[in-house]
Symmetry: D2
Subunit: 343 residues, 4 copies
């Protein structure tokens, strides 16, 4: 049985498991100072086409918070969409660890733009207000959309012109890169992103994440903040090995392509049903739709997904496809929805 | 020359100064363990009609943050208006000291209501979200309005029914009490407020604030959090003395009454000018109005007030009266505005 | 090649790897709400013979800090040996995350006793001092010794009589349990420990740790603090599975027994060499010895271990055996030392 | 009745009170942006003979913590004597606000030297350890001694040679300057101190402290950290005025000279009594002596001082003189001690 709840309900890709077994030989220096970690780092640098700084951490919240901790002081602020994961879904991890403030703005299609951000700059120099220092976005966004290269570059330029930095929460970065048919280098390095949370667990890995920093002067702090932030593990080679496997023969792409294709199949199957309201056209592997409550109740008997229960969101469901979602599984879900639509 | 910028531009009331001189005799135990502090505490308890817990601190931000720190854990959240002082004007002090999160809601007339708050309760029990624990409001609000006793009681009841507590930022509490013609006991104790920041500097004191807690189980932590929060001073009697002076012969009321009366005079004088847009009818000593930019420029030559410069607020000015604002000073400002309106 | 640097240089035990493969089937609810996690929890509860609260986290620092965070307020303090891992080797993680203070005392044989701690109690009730609330010890200690059951009970009783709690950093708890030939229940549950960091990575696991709390009233906060502390992972079943494997057929004991036996072999082999000074008789799998500097230089050519370089510790080396250390490997090290001793 | 408990039990010097009245005229811009604040700043800069950065705060703990917060990152550490005020008497304020660690060393005569500190440098570059960044000392020390200019310069040079900074807690800096018969410039500016907490409340002020920073690149953060640290007050002119008064006609020196002279009188009077053990020869206004317990009990009937109660310190008392301690008051205490010594 497959779930459409989230891409983190999936198991681990067999090639990742094979790689874990492959590096499970003998002793190695702990804490990242071993050949497997170095190999992973070199592969990631090759992917981004530059000698970026790579710091493995344990999970997505860790990547976001530790990465941001090196570029924001406690009296500064991070501008982000009100829907961003760091604001909505990390139980205040950012605030507690960094002591800094999230300066939220309402999103549009999950995205934010310079025009939506600019009013926060009036606070610059006024000690009564947290000083804006970073813009943080998610790619894919929390609404399943993808910033275009132009949108990314515009945000990065706006940030840099105003003395700010650009951070990207890339929990689903592979889905975005695959969706736009570009390279990681084009999407991240060339647009001017400063720090990226390079996710993997939602694309077939078991655990682990990589902070990729293009902001060399702050990157030297990463190793200390990672340790103080409880994100350093002893047997680090088992995270690096997973990244190595993901970057061999473009496994990241194979996985993301399947998830995206299954989402496209799902979207095509239900988009013309009049009782369904699609919130945003999916650009990756995530879709929000509004359904009649009775349909949700019926579908939950044989399918697993996340019905939103917040006030104002009743009737909304989130559907996510994974690297291992099968064509037939999507077809079954579509068929069941169609059946409901004809009753 | 008087300012209409804020009630914290005023000097110190002569009776407060006299009291400071009066207690300036001989040695006394430091850190609040002296007779002057005890006397102040007893007067405050009498004012609220109950044996509330009194903790003197150094300033308003300190009162808000230390008071809240005893009733919120780091993984919890404080629901407040987006315009609240703790969110907008304290440079992230709350987040840094408590590690907890502010859960903001858009205000209406500076106020928030249960209906505007309720959606935050969906997060209860879900570890991905900061757990709502406190509702914090300002009385007067940041928009110069005052919650009625009914509104306060409704909020307190809603909070308690849902396992939350009610905190009041009372930087201008005296102006609110005077405006509603009630007592402190009726406004705070009887409505069910749990913790109050009892301000004084905006009503004629030199410095110092009092945290007044009605939540006995958490109040025992106040003395430790006050010290750790850098809000304990050695010669504490000089804060207590100011509160004693404020509560003698109702000096707090005399001061607030003057500030409120001068604001009423100002409002009456300009409210019918068609080019002026009053944001909220002032219920205390603070008024926001929108004026033509040319008028602002002209008025700033001889008057001192705060023109807002944030995007969307251009043309808005904040006018605040103080305990020492003179009738003639308001009359002059009104006359100058009227002159501009006739050009 | 095997290392004697640390027990975290080892690879992952084959049975752990097999278990990871075994649970790598299909989708499962994330964040710990799946059958594999429940099974692991039940096994751990059985091990301790009580319905303790189990919270999986990502690493040892996470276990220590998150576990302590639920039983200490920021203005309180944790009494610990100056050599403790939380004080010396976690880059200030405890202080940053909890805001509280470590109250260190000099150790004896790596251990602390009520007599060494008692003077910290004078601070109780005095707001100028962090309020002692927890005693934290390591078992094995950082010097390779093991507290006896009597010593543990004495500490727990002392703590409870004074309103404190007892926390145990059990990074090497299996080695201690095996060394004393007791059960986990006897060592932890029955002595009165309140919170335990139940380590596994040093005994053959890949990653992950379990906080085991016997202090029910604070345990409810664990799930929130774990998330806020960046220690919640989505695919949690892969941590739980490792614990399940460790507790099947007493794998934990097999592993610890080998590590301890190899250390005993090593100790027997070198203890009578006059030029070597053994710091503490090893009671688990860790040994500190002082060697001539020339020997260290020579041994490092073919063996891997950690020579201490701190002032006052020059000439000291730490030797640690692992679940996979072979008898012949130890024999070779002993032989090489003996050769040096005869030159 | 005068106390020998602490110099913060004294009242406020009449010239300070007069100055507060003098500036209590009309309105002024809040938060430090007024002429009185500027005047105070210029006087302080003149005192130190350089354009140092001056930031008024509310109390001594605030000065220490906010000052340090601008020169230490959370993963770094501050080396200090175990007896230092920031370590022993501020309830963990430093740790909570900065997230960083205090790296304590045992003191000698209240002082620390490079030789006592050097071993902490082995941690540099190792992410498992808080990175040493600041050396913090107190002048006067907590044991009533004063670092000589040579000792200060040696510490500053050692710090700078190793990439560290030197912070001075100057709660009793005036007593030290007066004791050594040097200038503030010679003691602080010329020796190479980076950040000073310039205290006043223990030398006749009512409240307030000044952070004086000679480290220009970090000083720009002071205004933000002061606000976020709850140490900004609205009517700031009343702190600045006190500093102005202290620096007019060398009031600081008059006050410190009296306190020091009275301590010298006290010391001369009792030093030769055989039953009394003087801990350190007082170099300012503070003395620790060990007395028979029966004497302490007897003296406490008519004198007020602080008997230490920590284990190991029983029988020790702290005696402090103030700006307003009278010759006759000291004579009476000496006489009473002499009487006891003859019984």
């Amino acid at each position: 049985m497959k779930m459409f709840k989230s891409d983190n309900t999936a198991s681990v890709h067999p090639l990742i498991m094979a790689k874990l077994a492959e590096v499970n030989i003998g002793h190695a220096d702990p804490y990242g100072y071993d050949p497997v970690c170095l190999e992973g780092e070199k592969k990631i640098q090759a992917l981004f086409g530059t000698d970026c700084f790579v710091s493995y951490v344990l999970n997505g919240t860790g990547a976001n918070v530790i990465g941001l901790s090196t570029i924001v002081k406690p009296f500064q602020g991070v501008i982000c969409a009100d829907t961003s994961h760091i604001n909505e879904d990390e139980c205040g991890a950012f605030e507690r660890y960094t002591g800094a403030k999230l300066l939220t703005v309402p999103h549009k299609n999950g995205k934010i733009t310079p025009d939506m951000i600019r009013h926060h700059l009036h606070a610059l120099g006024n000690e009564h207000h947290s000083q804006p220092k970073v813009i943080s976005i998610s790619q894919l966004t929390e609404w399943g959309t993808a910033y275009t290269l132009e949108e990314l570059k515009t945000l990065a330029d706006f940030a840099h012109e105003n003395g700010l930095l650009l951070h990207v929460d890339g929990a689903r970065i592979a889905n975005a890169v695959e969706s736009l048919r570009v390279t990681f280098k084009e999407m991240i390095t060339d647009t001017g992103v400063d720090v990226l949370s390079f996710g993997g667990a939602k694309n077939g890995m078991m655990y682990g994440e990589a902070i990729v920093s293009f902001h060399q002067s702050s990157a030297v702090d990463l190793k200390y903040s990672r340790k103080q932030g409880m994100q350093l593990m002893s047997k680090m080679r088992y995270i690096a090995a997973q990244y190595s496997a993901m970057l061999e023969d473009d496994l990241w792409q194979t996985n993301a392509a399947n998830a995206n294709a299954r989402m496209a199949q799902l979207y095509r199957g239900i988009k013309d049903i009049s009782a369904i309201k699609v919130v945003e056209i999916p650009e990756g592997n995530m879709l929000f739709v509004k359904l009649p409550l009775s349909w949700i109740k019926s579908l939950l008997k044989t399918h697993y997904f996340y019905p939103m229960t917040e006030e104002g969101s009743v009737g909304m469901v989130r559907l996510v496809t994974s690297f291992d979602t099968k064509e037939g599984e999507v077809a079954q879900l579509v068929a069941d929805v169609l059946t409901l639509s004809k009753q």
